[in-house]
Protein backbone atom coordinates (compact mmCIF):
# COMPACT_ATOMS: atom_id res chain seq x y z
CA UNK A 1 0.00 0.00 0.00
CA UNK A 2 2.71 2.42 0.91
CA UNK A 3 5.15 1.42 -1.82
CA UNK A 4 5.35 4.83 -3.36
CA UNK A 5 8.51 4.97 -5.36
CA UNK A 6 10.78 7.53 -3.85
CA UNK A 7 11.66 9.75 -6.75
CA UNK A 8 11.35 12.98 -4.86
CA UNK A 9 14.69 14.16 -6.12
CA UNK A 10 14.16 13.02 -9.68
CA UNK A 11 10.50 13.90 -9.99
CA UNK A 12 10.54 17.61 -10.74
CA UNK A 13 12.75 17.10 -13.74
CA UNK A 14 11.71 13.55 -14.64
CA UNK A 15 9.79 14.43 -17.78
CA UNK A 16 12.26 17.05 -18.90
CA UNK A 17 15.13 14.63 -18.48
CA UNK A 18 13.50 11.78 -20.37
CA UNK A 19 12.12 14.07 -23.05
CA UNK A 20 8.82 12.22 -22.98
CA UNK A 21 5.97 14.34 -24.28
CA UNK A 22 2.35 14.06 -25.25
CA UNK A 23 2.28 13.32 -28.96
CA UNK A 24 -0.53 12.81 -31.47
CA UNK A 25 0.53 9.18 -31.74
CA UNK A 26 0.25 8.61 -27.99
CA UNK A 27 -3.15 10.28 -27.90
CA UNK A 28 -4.21 8.12 -30.83
CA UNK A 29 -3.13 5.00 -28.92
CA UNK A 30 -5.13 6.21 -25.90
CA UNK A 31 -8.26 6.77 -27.94
CA UNK A 32 -7.85 3.33 -29.50
CA UNK A 33 -7.78 1.80 -26.01
CA UNK A 34 -10.89 3.79 -25.08
CA UNK A 35 -12.74 2.69 -28.20
CA UNK A 36 -11.86 -0.96 -27.80
CA UNK A 37 -12.73 -1.06 -24.12
CA UNK A 38 -16.38 -0.03 -24.47
CA UNK A 39 -19.17 -2.38 -25.37
CA UNK A 40 -21.67 0.33 -26.30
CA UNK A 41 -19.67 1.57 -29.29
CA UNK A 42 -19.10 -2.03 -30.35
CA UNK A 43 -22.84 -2.68 -30.38
CA UNK A 44 -23.49 0.39 -32.49
CA UNK A 45 -20.94 -0.87 -34.96
CA UNK A 46 -22.57 -4.30 -35.06
CA UNK A 47 -25.96 -2.66 -35.59
CA UNK A 48 -24.51 -0.59 -38.43
CA UNK A 49 -23.07 -3.64 -40.15
CA UNK A 50 -26.29 -5.61 -39.76
CA UNK A 51 -28.39 -2.72 -41.02
CA UNK A 52 -26.36 -2.57 -44.22
CA UNK A 53 -26.55 -6.30 -44.85
CA UNK A 54 -30.22 -6.61 -43.91
CA UNK A 55 -31.44 -3.51 -45.70
CA UNK A 56 -29.48 -4.55 -48.76
CA UNK A 57 -31.04 -7.98 -48.76
CA UNK A 58 -34.69 -6.97 -48.31
CA UNK A 59 -35.24 -5.36 -51.73
CA UNK A 60 -33.41 -8.26 -53.33
CA UNK A 61 -35.64 -10.72 -51.52
CA UNK A 62 -38.58 -8.61 -52.65
CA UNK A 63 -37.45 -9.04 -56.22
CA UNK A 64 -37.06 -12.77 -55.74
CA UNK A 65 -40.19 -13.55 -53.75
CA UNK A 66 -42.60 -10.81 -54.73
CA UNK A 67 -41.75 -10.74 -58.40
CA UNK A 68 -40.90 -7.06 -58.26
CA UNK A 69 -39.30 -5.92 -61.44
CA UNK A 70 -35.80 -4.84 -60.56
CA UNK A 71 -35.68 -2.46 -63.51
CA UNK A 72 -39.24 -1.25 -63.60
CA UNK A 73 -39.89 0.47 -60.31
CA UNK A 74 -39.01 3.90 -59.12
CA UNK A 75 -36.23 5.35 -57.01
CA UNK A 76 -33.59 2.98 -55.87
CA UNK A 77 -35.26 0.01 -57.51
CA UNK A 78 -34.16 1.30 -60.87
CA UNK A 79 -30.72 0.50 -59.65
CA UNK A 80 -29.91 -2.98 -58.34
CA UNK A 81 -26.68 -1.79 -56.73
CA UNK A 82 -28.53 1.08 -55.14
CA UNK A 83 -30.94 -1.55 -53.87
CA UNK A 84 -28.06 -3.45 -52.35
CA UNK A 85 -26.97 -0.26 -50.63
CA UNK A 86 -30.32 1.08 -49.42
CA UNK A 87 -29.15 0.32 -45.91
CA UNK A 88 -26.70 3.16 -46.17
CA UNK A 89 -28.92 6.07 -45.21
CA UNK A 90 -30.20 4.36 -42.08
CA UNK A 91 -26.67 3.23 -41.28
CA UNK A 92 -25.59 6.83 -41.71
CA UNK A 93 -27.65 7.75 -38.68
CA UNK A 94 -26.19 4.88 -36.63
CA UNK A 95 -22.65 5.81 -37.60
CA UNK A 96 -23.34 9.48 -36.88
CA UNK A 97 -24.56 8.41 -33.42
CA UNK A 98 -21.36 6.39 -32.99
CA UNK A 99 -19.24 9.46 -33.74
CA UNK A 100 -21.36 11.58 -31.42
CA UNK A 101 -21.09 9.09 -28.55
CA UNK A 102 -17.33 8.82 -28.81
CA UNK A 103 -17.25 12.45 -27.63
CA UNK A 104 -20.42 13.04 -25.61
CA UNK A 105 -19.96 9.96 -23.42
CA UNK A 106 -16.85 11.70 -22.05
CA UNK A 107 -18.87 14.79 -21.22
CA UNK A 108 -21.73 12.97 -19.50
CA UNK A 109 -19.31 10.93 -17.39
CA UNK A 110 -16.88 13.76 -16.66
CA UNK A 111 -14.06 11.74 -18.23
CA UNK A 112 -13.37 14.66 -20.56
CA UNK A 113 -11.74 16.51 -17.66
CA UNK A 114 -9.31 13.67 -17.08
CA UNK A 115 -8.67 13.42 -20.82
CA UNK A 116 -7.96 17.13 -21.16
CA UNK A 117 -5.86 17.21 -18.00
CA UNK A 118 -3.71 14.52 -19.64
CA UNK A 119 -3.69 16.34 -23.00
CA UNK A 120 -4.05 20.03 -22.13
CA UNK A 121 -3.75 21.13 -25.75
CA UNK A 122 -7.02 19.24 -26.32
CA UNK A 123 -7.00 19.19 -30.12
CA UNK A 124 -5.00 15.96 -30.37
CA UNK A 125 -7.91 14.31 -28.55
CA UNK A 126 -10.39 15.63 -31.12
CA UNK A 127 -8.23 14.55 -34.08
CA UNK A 128 -7.68 11.10 -32.61
CA UNK A 129 -11.38 10.58 -31.92
CA UNK A 130 -12.32 11.69 -35.44
CA UNK A 131 -9.64 9.52 -37.06
CA UNK A 132 -10.57 6.42 -35.08
CA UNK A 133 -14.30 6.83 -35.61
CA UNK A 134 -13.70 7.32 -39.35
CA UNK A 135 -11.31 4.38 -39.68
CA UNK A 136 -13.52 2.00 -37.75
CA UNK A 137 -16.62 3.11 -39.66
CA UNK A 138 -14.84 2.69 -43.00
CA UNK A 139 -13.45 -0.78 -42.37
CA UNK A 140 -16.58 -2.19 -40.74
CA UNK A 141 -19.02 -0.81 -43.28
CA UNK A 142 -16.84 -1.72 -46.26
CA UNK A 143 -16.88 -5.31 -45.06
CA UNK A 144 -20.63 -5.04 -44.52
CA UNK A 145 -21.27 -3.43 -47.91
CA UNK A 146 -19.25 -6.11 -49.70
CA UNK A 147 -21.08 -8.82 -47.81
CA UNK A 148 -24.40 -7.21 -48.61
CA UNK A 149 -23.48 -6.85 -52.23
CA UNK A 150 -22.39 -10.46 -52.60
CA UNK A 151 -25.46 -11.71 -50.76
CA UNK A 152 -27.74 -9.64 -52.98
CA UNK A 153 -25.89 -10.91 -56.03
CA UNK A 154 -26.58 -14.51 -54.99
CA UNK A 155 -30.23 -13.77 -54.27
CA UNK A 156 -30.78 -11.86 -57.50
CA UNK A 157 -29.01 -14.55 -59.49
CA UNK A 158 -31.82 -16.85 -58.45
CA UNK A 159 -34.19 -14.33 -60.07
CA UNK A 160 -32.00 -14.17 -63.15
CA UNK A 161 -30.77 -10.66 -62.44
CA UNK A 162 -27.06 -10.18 -62.65
CA UNK A 163 -25.15 -7.52 -60.79
CA UNK A 164 -21.40 -7.33 -60.70
CA UNK A 165 -18.69 -5.34 -58.98
CA UNK A 166 -17.11 -4.84 -62.38
CA UNK A 167 -20.18 -3.07 -63.74
CA UNK A 168 -19.18 0.59 -64.19
CA UNK A 169 -19.85 2.58 -61.03
CA UNK A 170 -20.64 -0.40 -58.85
CA UNK A 171 -17.28 -0.79 -57.10
CA UNK A 172 -17.22 2.99 -56.69
CA UNK A 173 -20.66 2.93 -55.07
CA UNK A 174 -19.62 0.21 -52.62
CA UNK A 175 -16.37 1.90 -51.62
CA UNK A 176 -18.07 5.30 -51.78
CA UNK A 177 -20.73 4.15 -49.33
CA UNK A 178 -18.06 3.26 -46.79
CA UNK A 179 -16.22 6.52 -47.36
CA UNK A 180 -19.50 8.38 -46.94
CA UNK A 181 -20.01 6.62 -43.62
CA UNK A 182 -16.45 7.35 -42.52
CA UNK A 183 -16.99 11.05 -43.19
CA UNK A 184 -20.35 10.80 -41.41
CA UNK A 185 -18.51 9.47 -38.34
CA UNK A 186 -16.27 12.56 -38.43
CA UNK A 187 -19.37 14.74 -38.69
CA UNK A 188 -20.73 12.91 -35.62
CA UNK A 189 -17.52 13.54 -33.64
CA UNK A 190 -17.61 17.22 -34.61
CA UNK A 191 -21.25 17.67 -33.61
CA UNK A 192 -20.67 15.76 -30.38
CA UNK A 193 -17.79 18.10 -29.48
CA UNK A 194 -19.77 21.17 -30.47
CA UNK A 195 -22.99 20.36 -28.63
CA UNK A 196 -21.61 18.10 -25.84
CA UNK A 197 -24.97 16.36 -25.59
CA UNK A 198 -25.76 13.09 -27.36
CA UNK A 199 -29.44 13.86 -27.83
CA UNK A 200 -28.79 17.35 -29.14
CA UNK A 201 -26.04 16.26 -31.50
CA UNK A 202 -27.96 13.30 -32.96
CA UNK A 203 -31.05 15.50 -33.42
CA UNK A 204 -28.99 18.17 -35.16
CA UNK A 205 -27.38 15.58 -37.44
CA UNK A 206 -30.75 14.05 -38.24
CA UNK A 207 -31.91 17.49 -39.27
CA UNK A 208 -28.81 18.15 -41.31
CA UNK A 209 -28.82 14.83 -43.15
CA UNK A 210 -32.50 14.00 -43.54
CA UNK A 211 -34.56 17.13 -43.08
CA UNK A 212 -32.58 19.61 -45.19
CA UNK A 213 -33.09 17.47 -48.35
CA UNK A 214 -36.83 18.07 -47.94
CA UNK A 215 -36.22 21.81 -47.82
CA UNK A 216 -34.00 21.39 -50.86
CA UNK A 217 -37.03 20.43 -52.89
CA UNK A 218 -38.01 24.07 -52.75
CA UNK A 219 -34.82 25.10 -54.48
CA UNK A 220 -33.41 22.76 -57.15
CA UNK A 221 -30.27 24.91 -57.51
CA UNK A 222 -29.22 24.43 -53.91
CA UNK A 223 -30.59 20.94 -53.45
CA UNK A 224 -27.59 18.93 -54.75
CA UNK A 225 -25.26 20.79 -52.43
CA UNK A 226 -27.19 20.02 -49.25
CA UNK A 227 -25.26 17.58 -47.08
CA UNK A 228 -27.68 14.66 -47.31
CA UNK A 229 -28.02 14.91 -51.09
CA UNK A 230 -24.36 15.57 -51.77
CA UNK A 231 -23.35 12.54 -49.75
CA UNK A 232 -26.00 10.32 -51.36
CA UNK A 233 -24.55 11.06 -54.82
CA UNK A 234 -21.61 8.76 -54.23
CA UNK A 235 -23.73 5.65 -53.68
CA UNK A 236 -25.80 6.03 -56.86
CA UNK A 237 -24.79 3.87 -59.76
CA UNK A 238 -27.14 5.14 -62.41
CA UNK A 239 -26.82 8.80 -63.34
CA UNK A 240 -29.51 10.67 -61.49
CA UNK A 241 -30.72 14.03 -62.68
CA UNK A 242 -30.36 16.90 -60.23
CA UNK A 243 -27.51 15.45 -58.24
CA UNK A 244 -23.78 16.11 -58.22
CA UNK A 245 -21.32 13.68 -59.85
CA UNK A 246 -20.48 10.95 -57.31
CA UNK A 247 -17.03 12.02 -56.14
CA UNK A 248 -17.92 15.70 -56.24
CA UNK A 249 -20.88 14.88 -54.03
CA UNK A 250 -18.64 13.11 -51.53
CA UNK A 251 -16.24 16.05 -51.74
CA UNK A 252 -18.98 18.53 -50.88
CA UNK A 253 -20.16 16.30 -48.06
CA UNK A 254 -16.59 16.14 -46.74
CA UNK A 255 -16.38 19.93 -46.77
CA UNK A 256 -19.34 20.02 -44.39
CA UNK A 257 -17.48 17.61 -42.12
CA UNK A 258 -14.29 19.69 -42.28
CA UNK A 259 -16.25 22.85 -41.47
CA UNK A 260 -17.97 21.17 -38.52
CA UNK A 261 -14.69 19.75 -37.24
CA UNK A 262 -13.03 23.15 -37.49
CA UNK A 263 -15.87 24.74 -35.54
CA UNK A 264 -15.54 21.97 -32.95
CA UNK A 265 -11.79 22.58 -32.68
CA UNK A 266 -12.32 26.29 -32.09
CA UNK A 267 -15.02 25.64 -29.49
CA UNK A 268 -12.92 23.03 -27.72
CA UNK A 269 -9.89 25.27 -27.27
CA UNK A 270 -11.93 28.27 -26.18
CA UNK A 271 -14.39 26.70 -23.77
CA UNK A 272 -13.82 25.58 -20.20
CA UNK A 273 -13.81 21.82 -20.03
Amino acid sequence: MTTITDRSQATPTAAAATGIRVTQRRVFAAEAIKFRSLRSTGWLLVASVLSIVAAGLFPALGVLLGGLDPAGGEGSRTDPTGGALTGVSFTQLLIAALGVLVVTSEYTTGLIRASFAAVPRRLPVLWAKAAIAAAVAFVATLAAALTAFLAVKVVLAAADVTISLTTPGVARAVVGASLLLAVTAVLGVAFGALLRSAVGAVAALFGLLFVTPLLGMLSPQISPYLPGNAGAAVVQTGATAGSLPPWAGLGVFSLYAVAALTAAAVALTRRDA
Partner: protein, 311 residues
Protein backbone atom coordinates in the same frame (compact mmCIF):
# COMPACT_ATOMS: atom_id res chain seq x y z
CA UNK B 1 4.93 24.26 -6.07
CA UNK B 2 1.72 25.89 -7.23
CA UNK B 3 1.81 29.65 -7.75
CA UNK B 4 -1.56 31.33 -8.13
CA UNK B 5 -1.30 35.00 -9.03
CA UNK B 6 -4.31 37.27 -8.89
CA UNK B 7 -6.60 34.55 -10.20
CA UNK B 8 -10.11 35.68 -11.08
CA UNK B 9 -12.74 33.50 -12.69
CA UNK B 10 -16.14 34.83 -13.67
CA UNK B 11 -18.91 32.53 -14.90
CA UNK B 12 -21.65 34.52 -16.53
CA UNK B 13 -22.23 37.24 -13.95
CA UNK B 14 -20.92 35.30 -10.98
CA UNK B 15 -17.38 35.70 -9.68
CA UNK B 16 -16.31 32.25 -8.49
CA UNK B 17 -12.73 33.23 -7.67
CA UNK B 18 -11.86 36.83 -6.95
CA UNK B 19 -8.24 37.98 -7.13
CA UNK B 20 -6.75 34.95 -5.40
CA UNK B 21 -3.01 35.01 -4.82
CA UNK B 22 -1.44 32.11 -2.98
CA UNK B 23 1.58 29.85 -3.22
CA UNK B 24 1.29 26.18 -2.31
CA UNK B 25 4.68 24.88 -1.25
CA UNK B 26 6.25 21.45 -1.47
CA UNK B 27 7.02 19.14 1.43
CA UNK B 28 3.79 19.61 3.31
CA UNK B 29 0.09 18.89 3.01
CA UNK B 30 -1.78 22.08 2.28
CA UNK B 31 -5.47 21.92 3.11
CA UNK B 32 -7.81 23.98 0.99
CA UNK B 33 -10.82 24.93 3.06
CA UNK B 34 -13.95 26.91 2.44
CA UNK B 35 -17.69 26.53 2.41
CA UNK B 36 -19.44 25.07 -0.62
CA UNK B 37 -19.32 27.52 -3.49
CA UNK B 38 -16.26 29.32 -2.13
CA UNK B 39 -14.37 28.64 -5.37
CA UNK B 40 -12.16 25.70 -4.34
CA UNK B 41 -13.00 23.47 -7.28
CA UNK B 42 -12.81 26.38 -9.73
CA UNK B 43 -9.33 27.19 -8.45
CA UNK B 44 -8.24 23.59 -8.85
CA UNK B 45 -9.65 23.38 -12.36
CA UNK B 46 -7.79 26.56 -13.25
CA UNK B 47 -4.54 25.07 -11.93
CA UNK B 48 -4.74 22.16 -14.36
CA UNK B 49 -5.88 24.31 -17.24
CA UNK B 50 -9.43 23.02 -17.51
CA UNK B 51 -10.93 26.41 -16.76
CA UNK B 52 -9.45 29.46 -18.41
CA UNK B 53 -8.88 32.26 -15.90
CA UNK B 54 -10.79 35.48 -16.56
CA UNK B 55 -7.62 37.21 -15.38
CA UNK B 56 -4.51 36.29 -13.48
CA UNK B 57 -2.19 33.37 -13.90
CA UNK B 58 -1.42 29.98 -12.44
CA UNK B 59 1.94 28.28 -12.65
CA UNK B 60 2.44 24.75 -11.50
CA UNK B 61 5.82 23.04 -11.20
CA UNK B 62 7.45 26.08 -12.75
CA UNK B 63 5.27 26.78 -15.76
CA UNK B 64 1.72 26.99 -17.02
CA UNK B 65 0.07 23.58 -16.88
CA UNK B 66 -0.54 23.43 -20.63
CA UNK B 67 3.13 24.16 -21.31
CA UNK B 68 4.32 20.94 -19.69
CA UNK B 69 5.34 18.47 -22.40
CA UNK B 70 3.98 15.58 -20.34
CA UNK B 71 1.76 17.17 -17.65
CA UNK B 72 0.75 13.94 -15.89
CA UNK B 73 4.41 13.41 -15.03
CA UNK B 74 4.52 16.75 -13.22
CA UNK B 75 1.03 17.22 -11.83
CA UNK B 76 -1.55 14.67 -10.75
CA UNK B 77 -5.11 15.75 -10.11
CA UNK B 78 -8.26 14.16 -8.77
CA UNK B 79 -11.05 16.60 -9.55
CA UNK B 80 -14.07 14.35 -9.82
CA UNK B 81 -14.20 10.77 -8.57
CA UNK B 82 -16.76 9.87 -11.21
CA UNK B 83 -14.61 11.01 -14.11
CA UNK B 84 -14.48 7.58 -15.69
CA UNK B 85 -16.76 5.91 -18.21
CA UNK B 86 -18.93 3.40 -16.31
CA UNK B 87 -18.68 0.89 -19.16
CA UNK B 88 -14.91 0.70 -19.09
CA UNK B 89 -12.73 -1.38 -16.78
CA UNK B 90 -10.55 0.38 -14.23
CA UNK B 91 -7.44 -0.95 -15.93
CA UNK B 92 -8.48 0.22 -19.41
CA UNK B 93 -9.37 3.64 -17.99
CA UNK B 94 -5.94 4.03 -16.41
CA UNK B 95 -4.08 2.64 -19.43
CA UNK B 96 -5.79 5.07 -21.76
CA UNK B 97 -4.80 8.02 -19.57
CA UNK B 98 -1.28 6.71 -19.00
CA UNK B 99 -0.43 6.12 -22.65
CA UNK B 100 -1.02 9.79 -23.57
CA UNK B 101 1.92 10.78 -21.38
CA UNK B 102 4.08 7.82 -22.29
CA UNK B 103 3.51 6.05 -18.99
CA UNK B 104 3.97 2.30 -19.26
CA UNK B 105 1.82 -0.61 -18.15
CA UNK B 106 4.14 -1.46 -15.27
CA UNK B 107 3.40 1.90 -13.65
CA UNK B 108 -0.35 1.39 -14.22
CA UNK B 109 -0.16 -1.93 -12.38
CA UNK B 110 1.88 -0.26 -9.65
CA UNK B 111 -0.72 2.43 -8.94
CA UNK B 112 -3.54 -0.12 -9.09
CA UNK B 113 -1.79 -2.04 -6.30
CA UNK B 114 -1.00 1.16 -4.45
CA UNK B 115 -4.65 2.17 -4.16
CA UNK B 116 -5.81 -1.37 -3.44
CA UNK B 117 -7.91 -1.96 -6.57
CA UNK B 118 -6.09 -5.07 -7.83
CA UNK B 119 -9.06 -7.36 -7.17
CA UNK B 120 -11.47 -5.25 -9.20
CA UNK B 121 -9.11 -3.83 -11.83
CA UNK B 122 -10.79 -5.76 -14.65
CA UNK B 123 -14.31 -4.88 -13.58
CA UNK B 124 -16.35 -2.14 -15.12
CA UNK B 125 -16.18 1.14 -13.26
CA UNK B 126 -19.99 1.45 -13.33
CA UNK B 127 -20.23 -1.14 -10.55
CA UNK B 128 -17.79 0.68 -8.27
CA UNK B 129 -18.81 2.20 -4.95
CA UNK B 130 -17.97 5.86 -4.42
CA UNK B 131 -15.05 4.78 -2.28
CA UNK B 132 -13.65 2.58 -5.06
CA UNK B 133 -14.20 5.39 -7.57
CA UNK B 134 -12.20 7.71 -5.30
CA UNK B 135 -9.37 5.18 -5.19
CA UNK B 136 -9.47 4.94 -8.98
CA UNK B 137 -9.29 8.73 -9.22
CA UNK B 138 -6.32 8.76 -6.85
CA UNK B 139 -4.64 6.05 -8.92
CA UNK B 140 -5.09 8.25 -12.00
CA UNK B 141 -3.59 11.22 -10.15
CA UNK B 142 -0.53 9.19 -9.14
CA UNK B 143 0.08 7.65 -12.61
CA UNK B 144 2.90 9.98 -13.60
CA UNK B 145 4.59 9.88 -10.17
CA UNK B 146 4.05 13.66 -10.08
CA UNK B 147 5.79 16.24 -7.91
CA UNK B 148 2.54 18.15 -7.47
CA UNK B 149 -0.70 16.48 -6.41
CA UNK B 150 -4.12 18.14 -6.28
CA UNK B 151 -7.07 16.32 -4.79
CA UNK B 152 -10.57 17.78 -4.66
CA UNK B 153 -12.52 16.27 -1.74
CA UNK B 154 -10.66 12.95 -1.82
CA UNK B 155 -12.20 11.50 1.34
CA UNK B 156 -15.78 11.82 0.08
CA UNK B 157 -17.38 8.41 0.20
CA UNK B 158 -14.41 6.66 1.76
CA UNK B 159 -14.96 4.37 4.73
CA UNK B 160 -12.93 4.90 7.94
CA UNK B 161 -10.23 2.54 6.70
CA UNK B 162 -10.05 4.41 3.44
CA UNK B 163 -9.87 7.76 5.19
CA UNK B 164 -7.00 6.56 7.35
CA UNK B 165 -5.29 5.17 4.26
CA UNK B 166 -5.53 8.42 2.35
CA UNK B 167 -4.28 10.38 5.35
CA UNK B 168 -1.17 8.20 5.44
CA UNK B 169 -0.78 8.43 1.69
CA UNK B 170 -0.94 12.23 1.64
CA UNK B 171 1.47 12.59 4.54
CA UNK B 172 3.82 10.13 2.85
CA UNK B 173 3.69 12.04 -0.44
CA UNK B 174 4.43 15.33 1.34
CA UNK B 175 7.27 13.72 3.30
CA UNK B 176 8.86 12.75 -0.02
CA UNK B 177 9.03 16.44 -0.86
CA UNK B 178 5.97 16.66 -3.09
CA UNK B 179 3.46 19.47 -3.13
CA UNK B 180 0.13 18.15 -1.84
CA UNK B 181 -2.93 20.38 -2.18
CA UNK B 182 -6.14 18.88 -0.82
CA UNK B 183 -9.55 20.48 -0.62
CA UNK B 184 -12.13 19.44 1.89
CA UNK B 185 -15.06 20.83 3.78
CA UNK B 186 -14.39 18.37 6.62
CA UNK B 187 -12.53 20.33 9.30
CA UNK B 188 -11.84 17.30 11.46
CA UNK B 189 -10.18 15.53 8.55
CA UNK B 190 -8.07 18.55 7.68
CA UNK B 191 -7.03 18.94 11.31
CA UNK B 192 -5.49 15.48 11.15
CA UNK B 193 -3.94 15.68 7.69
CA UNK B 194 -2.87 19.19 6.82
CA UNK B 195 0.22 21.11 7.94
CA UNK B 196 -0.84 24.30 6.30
CA UNK B 197 -4.18 25.83 5.41
CA UNK B 198 -5.48 28.00 2.61
CA UNK B 199 -8.96 29.23 3.41
CA UNK B 200 -11.26 30.62 0.81
CA UNK B 201 -14.55 32.46 1.31
CA UNK B 202 -16.65 33.69 -1.58
CA UNK B 203 -13.75 33.36 -3.94
CA UNK B 204 -11.37 35.40 -1.80
CA UNK B 205 -8.41 34.39 0.28
CA UNK B 206 -9.33 34.53 3.97
CA UNK B 207 -6.22 32.92 5.39
CA UNK B 208 -2.94 31.33 4.36
CA UNK B 209 -1.57 30.03 7.65
CA UNK B 210 0.05 27.05 9.31
CA UNK B 211 -2.25 24.78 11.24
CA UNK B 212 -0.62 25.86 14.52
CA UNK B 213 -1.08 29.56 13.90
CA UNK B 214 -4.62 28.90 12.82
CA UNK B 215 -5.70 27.13 15.98
CA UNK B 216 -3.61 29.29 18.34
CA UNK B 217 -4.62 32.62 16.94
CA UNK B 218 -8.30 31.96 17.00
CA UNK B 219 -8.82 32.43 20.73
CA UNK B 220 -5.69 34.21 21.95
CA UNK B 221 -6.67 33.01 25.39
CA UNK B 222 -4.25 31.79 28.04
CA UNK B 223 -5.19 29.84 31.15
CA UNK B 224 -3.12 30.66 34.26
CA UNK B 225 -3.24 28.86 37.59
CA UNK B 226 -1.58 30.46 40.57
CA UNK B 227 -1.97 30.52 44.38
CA UNK B 228 -1.53 34.32 44.12
CA UNK B 229 -4.27 34.71 41.52
CA UNK B 230 -5.63 37.95 43.01
CA UNK B 231 -2.29 39.71 42.86
CA UNK B 232 -1.59 38.48 39.33
CA UNK B 233 -5.07 39.47 38.14
CA UNK B 234 -4.54 43.02 39.41
CA UNK B 235 -1.17 43.37 37.69
CA UNK B 236 -2.41 41.90 34.40
CA UNK B 237 -5.50 44.11 34.27
CA UNK B 238 -3.25 47.07 34.89
CA UNK B 239 -1.42 46.02 31.70
CA UNK B 240 -4.74 46.00 29.85
CA UNK B 241 -5.60 42.29 29.81
CA UNK B 242 -9.16 41.06 29.99
CA UNK B 243 -9.56 38.49 32.74
CA UNK B 244 -12.23 36.08 33.82
CA UNK B 245 -11.96 33.72 36.79
CA UNK B 246 -13.56 30.32 36.17
CA UNK B 247 -12.08 29.08 39.48
CA UNK B 248 -10.67 31.01 42.48
CA UNK B 249 -7.06 30.20 41.57
CA UNK B 250 -7.50 30.14 37.77
CA UNK B 251 -7.43 33.12 35.44
CA UNK B 252 -8.53 33.08 31.80
CA UNK B 253 -6.50 35.85 30.24
CA UNK B 254 -6.93 37.44 26.86
CA UNK B 255 -4.90 40.29 25.44
CA UNK B 256 -1.54 39.09 26.79
CA UNK B 257 0.61 36.29 25.41
CA UNK B 258 1.81 33.47 27.66
CA UNK B 259 5.34 34.94 27.56
CA UNK B 260 4.11 38.36 28.68
CA UNK B 261 2.13 36.78 31.50
CA UNK B 262 5.15 34.77 32.65
CA UNK B 263 7.28 37.93 32.64
CA UNK B 264 4.73 39.84 34.68
CA UNK B 265 4.56 36.98 37.18
CA UNK B 266 8.34 36.67 37.42
CA UNK B 267 8.82 40.39 38.01
CA UNK B 268 6.35 40.25 40.90
CA UNK B 269 7.72 36.90 42.18
CA UNK B 270 4.33 35.27 41.66
CA UNK B 271 4.29 31.48 41.52
CA UNK B 272 2.57 30.01 38.45
CA UNK B 273 1.53 26.38 38.64
CA UNK B 274 -0.02 26.31 35.17
CA UNK B 275 0.34 28.48 32.06
CA UNK B 276 -1.47 27.14 28.99
CA UNK B 277 -2.32 28.88 25.74
CA UNK B 278 -5.80 27.69 24.75
CA UNK B 279 -5.94 26.18 21.28
CA UNK B 280 -9.25 26.25 19.54
CA UNK B 281 -10.34 23.31 17.48
CA UNK B 282 -9.80 23.92 13.79
CA UNK B 283 -13.55 24.08 13.40
CA UNK B 284 -13.89 26.85 16.02
CA UNK B 285 -11.02 28.72 14.44
CA UNK B 286 -12.51 28.36 11.00
CA UNK B 287 -15.96 29.50 12.08
CA UNK B 288 -14.52 32.48 13.93
CA UNK B 289 -12.59 33.44 10.84
CA UNK B 290 -15.38 33.04 8.31
CA UNK B 291 -17.86 34.78 10.62
CA UNK B 292 -15.53 37.76 10.65
CA UNK B 293 -15.36 37.62 6.87
CA UNK B 294 -19.12 37.61 6.60
CA UNK B 295 -19.43 40.64 8.89
CA UNK B 296 -16.74 42.47 7.04
CA UNK B 297 -18.45 41.87 3.76
CA UNK B 298 -21.89 42.68 5.09
CA UNK B 299 -20.82 46.10 6.37
CA UNK B 300 -19.01 47.12 3.20
CA UNK B 301 -21.56 47.12 0.40
CA UNK B 302 -19.22 49.43 -1.52
CA UNK B 303 -16.87 46.51 -2.29
CA UNK B 304 -17.85 44.73 -5.44
CA UNK B 305 -19.97 41.84 -4.41
CA UNK B 306 -20.76 39.87 -7.54
CA UNK B 307 -23.48 37.84 -5.84
CA UNK B 308 -25.37 40.93 -4.80
CA UNK B 309 -24.58 42.90 -7.90
CA UNK B 310 -26.13 40.16 -10.00
CA UNK B 311 -29.24 39.96 -7.81
Amino acid sequence: MIEIRNLTKVYGGTTAVDGLTVTVRPGRVTGFLGPNGAGKSTTMRAVVGLDRPTSGEVQVAGRRYADHPAPLREVGALLDANAAHPGRSALAHLRALAVTNGIGRARVDEVVDMVGLRQVADRRVGGFSLGMAQRLGIAAALLGDPAVILLDEPVNGLDPDGIRWIRGLLRGLAAEGRTVFVSSHLMSEMALTADHLVILGRGRLIADVSMEEMTASATGQVTVRSPQADDLARRLSADGAAITRPEPDVLAVTGRTNTQIAETALAARILLTELVPVHASLEDAYLAMTAHDTQYRATTPATTDPGRAAA
